[in-house]
């Protein structure tokens, strides 16, 4: 086992810390499998992944990870209820066609869901709209309005309201700065909605 944790992205590191050892995990939008590899090496997690890009999938399988090519919007419905301990959606929610349906399936398939997303309520985003009158382009949101894969932005407060509406209980929440480091503010609070660039939530069915 390789205990080194420094090599993976900070926000993935925070997600990994929310996962119990030896649990079953489905990573939706797993990219090149960085998180799954880390969870297997450090926590003995039985991980599976879904990834949209074939290149990402092939890289994962080459590395011995169990990953299929698929789409969060269309392929989660196949999975039986309670098949996993955790279903993870990292920086992907805003790119789905039906975020609520995706979250619904995640809550059905997994005992817990972990969701991370960029906060559209971040003050620089607000300023960009308010002062420049232009759609914001930041380090974390580098796309222009016409070429962005992100079609369903939300603020932290929007997300928390949706979770409440869906009867999902927030077990843990982390407000993160631009480089993915946790900030000393309550994730569900008003300050986080202004100061945090991204957030991670651990949810379970209430």
């Amino acid at each position: 086992m390789n205990g080194s944790t420094s090599s993976i992205r900070v926000d993935l590191q925070l997600i990994a810390e929310m996962v119990e050892p030896s649990s079953r995990v489905l990573d939706v939008g797993c990219g090149d499998g960085e998180l799954l590899q880390h969870l297997w090496k450090t926590k003995g997690v039985d991980g599976r992944g879904i990834e949209l890009s074939q290149a990402g999938v092939n890289a994962c399988v080459r590395n011995g990870l169990s990953v299929i090519q698929g789409d969060a919007d269309t392929d989660l419905k196949d999975y039986p209820s309670d098949a996993f301990d955790y279903v993870i959606l990292s920086q992907t929610l805003q790119a789905t066609w039906n975020p609520r349906t995706v979250l619904d399936h995640m809550a059905r398939i997994g005992r817990r869901s972990i969701v991370s997303f960029p906060n559209f309520g971040y003050w620089r985003v607000r300023m960009s709209l308010a002062l420049n009158g232009r759609m914001p382009v930041t380090d974390n949101l580098p796309h222009h309005w016409y070429d962005t894969p992100n079609i369903h932005f939300c603020t932290i407060r929007d997300f928390v309201a949706l979770a409440e509406d869906m009867n999902l209980h927030v077990e843990r929440g982390l407000a993160l700065n631009g480089v993915g480091r946790p900030m000393g503010v309550t994730a569900t609070g008003a300050l986080a909605n202004i100061l945090a660039e991204q957030a991670v939530f651990l949810l379970r069915r209430a």
């Binding site: 092939n58 994962c60 399988v61 080459r62 090519q69 698929g70 039986p80």
Partner: protein, 382 residues
């Protein structure tokens, strides 16, 4: 090649079903019967490193050696050998000639002990499940409790899926390549064309050609020609031949092989006849047609319920015989069963045959998947 000549081929030939016959899906009890197989690499002390390779319709057990009849390299020489994805320094590779085949395992050209004559059409109709049952008898004979992996392309993939569904506790990892969980109407249709070509040849003699000391060469060659087209893609055919003429400057205004593609197909047909038995072709194509895992188990997810097997499903973009949609259907069923599954679609313009050809991405994915499985199983490097 006659039944007596197959006995002199390389590899092993054992008798199975001596005590405890093989009960076929059609109801017939078969045994004792010969089964020919070949192995590469060494079986380790706890017999945990065996990989069963399942061959395709017209394949055989000479996977990684010069073919004893054609003199060509083994059909998966690229994949099986020292340092290759199916690394013979690490794994023990087994491949058996399928039931109904014609290179040593019992099939329609072998002698029926009851009559002393070749079976011909008296040979019982066999299924993919029957082929797998016979392979299970082989690993019982070899004392192998669990195969580290079962892998195969095309009809081989059907056997892989059948293995995983029928004997999940005997399989650690399953790799169905360019396959499907059922034979499609289009594929049954192509097979029917091939069978009709064989049966329309007067030399077929109602399946009894061996008694007439002949064989339906023309019919079998046409069957092979038609099938061969389905193994390639339009792109691959065009790249290889285009509209190029065969050894001539101009069209001949006749029905000789003017085009290179005609000449190529004729050659494929003629050489195939030398190594394959026409009745075997009828029986094995029938086995593929009958294959439908969902029908057998009630539904496809039911076939894999609570399966402990690790799957890696592979398809190729230009394969129109076993298209990616068929593999995806398998993957959806495996997801519904919460199975451990990987699925890769390899970008290739070589059609169905891509699984037999040099596709570096395919080899890398396969090697990586097997390495990951070995790590999960705790299979030590020797």
């Amino acid at each position: 090649m006659s039944a007596t000549e197959t006995k002199s081929l390389p590899g092993q030939r054992i008798e199975l079903g001596g005590n405890g016959k093989l009960r076929l899906d059609c109801g017939v009890e078969l045994g004792p019967f010969p089964l020919a197989y070949q192995t590469y690499g060494e079986l380790n002390a706890d017999k945990s490193n065996a990989i069963m390779v399942c061959h395709a319709l017209t394949g055989d057990h000479f996977v990684a050696e010069t073919h004893p009849i054609t003199g060509k390299p083994g059909w998966w020489d690229l994949m099986v050998g020292p340092g290759k994805p199916l690394d013979t320094n690490r794994y023990f590779i087994i491949c058996a000639n399928v039931l109904g085949g014609c290179l040593g395992t019992v099939g329609p050209k072998e002698v029926d002990p009851a009559t002393g004559k070749p079976y011909g059409l008296d040979f019982p109709v066999i299924t993919i499940g029957d082929m797998v049952r016979a392979q299970r008898m082989l690993i019982d004979h070899l004392g192998i409790d669990q195969l580290f992996a079962v892998i195969g392309g095309s009809m081989g993939a059907m056997q892989v899926l059948d293995w995983a569904a029928r004997y999940p506790e005997r399989v650690f990892a399953a790799i169905p390549v360019a396959g499907a969980a059922r034979h499609s109407a289009q594929n049954i249709a192509f097979h029917e064309v091939g069978r009709q070509a064989i049966m329309a040849d007067p030399d077929w003699h109602g399946g009894d050609y061996l008694s007439h000391d002949t064989k339906p060469r023309r019919g079998l060659a046409v069957a092979r020609m038609a099938a061969h087209i389905t193994y390639l893609s339009e792109t691959a055919l065009h790249r290889k031949f285009g509209r190029n003429l065969q050894d001539r400057e101009a069209l001949t205004f006749g029905f000789d092989a003017d085009f290179q593609v005609e000449s190529y197909l004729r050659h494929q047909g003629i050489t195939f006849v030398e190594r394959f038995d026409a009745n075997s072709y009828l029986y094995i194509t029938r086995a593929m047609d009958y294959f439908d895992l969902a029908a057998e188990f009630g539904s496809l997810p039911a076939a894999f319920e609570n399966t402990p097997v690790r799957f890696c499903v592979v398809s190729f973009t230009s394969d129109w015989l076993f298209p990616t949609s068929e593999s995806r259907a398998v993957v959806h069923a495996l997801n519904a069963a919460a199975a451990n599954v990987s699925f890769v679609e390899i970008d290739s313009d070589k059609g169905h045959d891509a699984f037999l050809l040099d596709e570096p991405e395919f080899r890398e994915v396969l090697g990586g998947f097997l390495n990951g499985c070995a790590e999960h199983k705790g299979l030590n490097r020797s």
